[in-house]
């Protein structure tokens, strides 16, 4: 649960109320020379073909173009078998999603399997990562309740396993997964170990809404990575936040290599 800085974002308008508006100005900041690192994003899913994104990190004020690394080679190893994902960039026009390396091959993944990733390029950069396939945690119930204004809140419940340290990612999409998520957060079972956990919401929903509710059972390395992304983003522009470095799950570069094990329910909100 990250309640942390929401409190202060509520207080901030008050602060700026005290001041006039003309208090922001563009300034020149000289950044030190930056050596680009490989940035890898690769998620394994059962029964899905292998896809990865390999890009580079760039100095902040560089031009906004996608820094492709055509000479990067991507290898995935599972059960002693190594598969090479060739460089073959593709972007889905509708969703905007893109991949740089892909191979139309599916892995037979079972919980507990260990899969490794290796990325190399001609500059000698070398990124490695490991993921252990997670089991699903079933969503036991998705319920909702209307108030007198005909708005409903959503309650999603599941049972946490008391014998393991667990991490979750919870997402709610309206209508389709290709829309931006309406809710998205990560959580650990530190305060709720072994309990039946329920995630509530605000009165955000109306009759007829179609909601796709996903509960990802995630690895700690993925939890750490997502948390650090969120911390780093909120540090840019929040004078009270301590800057946060990205906690990558891969070594030798930046990025995440993990597997997606989720339980998903689609509900239509009805009275």
């Amino acid at each position: 649960m990250k309640t942390s800085f929401t409190i202060y974002t509520l207080l901030l308008p008050l602060l700026f109320l005290l001041t006039s508006c003309d208090l922001e100005q563009e300034v020149e900041v000289k950044l030190p020379p930056y050596k680009s690192q490989l940035v890898v994003e690769c998620y394994l899913e059962p029964d899905k073909s292998l896809r990865a994104v390999v890009l580079e990190s760039v100095s902040y004020f560089n031009d906004p173009e996608l820094p492709l690394v055509p000479d990067a080679e991507v290898f995935i190893t599972h059960n002693g078998k190594t598969i090479k994902l060739p460089f073959s960039p593709i972007q889905n026009k509708e969703t905007g999603k893109y991949y740089t390396h892909r191979k139309n091959e599916k892995l037979n993944l079972k919980p507990g399997d260990v899969v490794t990733l290796e990325v190399k390029d001609k500059k000698g950069r070398h990124v490695t990562g490991t993921t252990t396939i997670m089991n699903q945690v079933p969503i036991e119930a998705v319920e909702w309740k209307f108030n007198e204004k005909n708005k409903a809140y959503l309650l999603t419940s599941y049972q946490d396993d008391p014998d393991a340290e667990n991490f979750y990612r919870y997402m709610v999409h309206r209508d389709s997964l290709s829309n931006s998520s309406q809710r998205d957060f990560v959580s650990s079972d530190r305060l709720t170990n072994g309990q039946r956990v329920s995630y509530g919401s605000g009165y955000d929903y109306e009759q007829g809404d179609t909601l796709v509710v996903s509960l990802f059972h995630i690895e700690q390395q993925y939890y750490d990575f997502l948390s650090s992304i969120s911390d780093a983003r909120s540090a840019n522009g929040n004078p009270f936040a301590q800057p946060s470095r990205i906690v990558s799950s891969v070594k030798g570069g930046i990025g995440i290599f993990t597997n997606l094990s989720y339980n998903r329910k689609t509900v239509v909100i009805e009275k």
Binding site: L10, L11, L23, G96
Partner: protein
Amino acid sequence: MRLPAFAVYFLCLFSLVASDVFAQSTYTISGYVRGTGGEDALIGATVSVPELSTGAVTDARGFYTLQLPEGSHTLQATYIGYESATRTIEVTDQNLTINFALLPANSQLREVVIEANSLQQKLNASQMSVETLTTREAKLLPALFGEVDLIKTLQLKPGVQSGGEGASGLYVRGGGPDQNLVLLDDAVVYNASHLFGFFSVFNPDAVESVELYKGGFPAQFGGRLSSVVDVKMREGNKERIGVTGGIGLIASRLTVDGPIVKDKSSFVLSGRRTYFDVFTRQINRIQEGKEDFNRIPDYYFYDLNGKANYKLGEKDELFLSGYFGRDFFGFNDADFQFRFDWGNKVGALRWQHKFNPRFQVNTTLSGSSYKYNVSNKIDVFSFNLSSDIRDLALKTDFSLILDKGHTLQFGAMATRHDFTIGRLNFDSDDDRISFGAGNDYKAMEAAAYVADDFQVSSQLSLNYGVRLSAFNSGGKTYSALEPRASARYSLSERTSLKASYASMMQYIHLVANSGASLPTDIWYPSNDYVKPQRSQQVAAGISHLLGGGRYLITNELYYKWMHRQIDFRDGANLFVNDNLEEEFLFGKGESYGKEVYLEKIKGRTTGWLGYTLSWSYRQFDDINDGRRFPTRYDRRHDVSLVVLHELSKRINLTGAFVYGTGNAYSLPVARFAFQDVHGKGATVVPVYSDRNSFRLAAFHRLDLGLVLKLKPKRGEADLTFNAYNAYNRRNPYFVYFEQVKDEDDNETLGFRAKQVSLFPVIPSVTYNFKF
């Protein structure tokens, strides 16, 4: 535990001086210097014997002590802004008590001329690295929104920095804001700020003076590494009822004081409240129902100060002091009730007993608590988070004047701490959701000390002592010896050399990683895993009187080592965490620098010029890849110039200029595109590298003030005009990077840096009255 060594030292010191106690060759003349009507104690008043070229200066209670031989002597009591008083006394065969009541020099407000300790007294004291500020000084200086704030005025002194524009946090000689021991009439205050630290909790009408120790700490103080902020509340008028107040831009103050039993007992009661909530509620009401209207949350703070004293007899006096303050922040909607409140409660009862004019004891029983509470209710869901610290403390301090130039201070204290850390409840009315978190801890802290102020010769004076401190929490006990020493050597009547050493321990730690004084900062005890912080500081300096004694220039060098410094892991969760100690990181720190201070305290033009050259670093194995990094407030150059000029009897002009090297700051050096599992296209993630490796632009600002004394039919009044940031400098508060997007197709065009400033020029006017 090295108790035996301590005990031996204690005994030696006593046997050394015990024989002197009764071998009296001179007599002690002591007493109080007060304003007429027995009102406030006059701190820093001089009582001198001109024919013997000797004298003393009153302490924070207006008390002085002199050693005089037999014979007829003329005592002269002087205090700027008051008529001098002269008394001729016969010293025969006993100690005498001589009190002075001085008449104000004119019928105007007493805030006339700046006057702390006299410069000669400062030059001669063996104590170094101390700054004294009275409310009278602070009230003349320009202030943000016209709200006089003693803590913020202290930031104008060399070696003391603010946490950010307008903030009341103190960063003393490279130490953190968590390393200041803030005392209000001997009781600890845990969070001395309102609203992000923009205001300190000390209502100037209730405060007499503040002393800030930056180094060379006297042995009676301990428990924090970097400074002691000793705030003394003023006492009520013993003869008649008086009312003081002020109406300002954002807050008003009212103080009533007077006798309870004439000449025996008096009280002072002071209150202050802000009123932006009154305006914001109106704005909300007018804007209600308009589209795109965001309600402005409610915010206000108030505080109450009270002090009463009762003279039990010639030798005994009781003082009862209290403080209660609250900040309240609320945001309500039809199905949303957010409430956030925080504040301190402080109370102290001090019993002062004088065995004889040379030997007195002060015993104080005090309580202090700080609590914050955040609650939110969204229909059936309720969320509540709170933390607090509660203290109960007993301490006793003896002061014994011996012959042959020794003055002994010794005493002991014990504090019981109760902590509640991150108490969380999250429930729904139908009980479908219910979970809680939080921890309670108890701790005991104790200390004993002894120190001897020894006037070896007219050239040399020494102050040496030791403090033994101990702390117990969760079955773990720590103890330490904290030696303290300072020395002064006079090269001439106008020049003296000073040096000091102090070792300090800190057993409780502030859980905060924001760099600002936030209400949610909470204290945490040392335990098995979190060991106490320790610091050592050496300082050396030279003081010289210039211009026939009208100016004093002080030049001090210091070096401070800090061990077991605390920071937090990247992304640490400090709010709701039952295993908070896992977020702690331990490292070390060092700071060093030079402070030059030139002051003038008499005449129509007074003020000071301070310059600090300093460095402040921390090193943690798990931050910045183990490399040393500058603290956010590592400030290479810091200049402050304060000038007060009495234009006429009715008009005072003041100006304060500050310049500081920009704060060290972390900025992303790079970025990468992150697509995530679903969603549309990529978003930008910043990549941070070295901690605090950038510098914000330099900070500089000029504040101007004008105090115009009015001539009301009754009492006294003035109008204080202020211009904060007079030349409207856009000082950097923080810098961030933003994505520049095409307005039509939302395409990213590039990236740029934006600097945010907080306060433009802010004019204000305050009406002060007294009758």
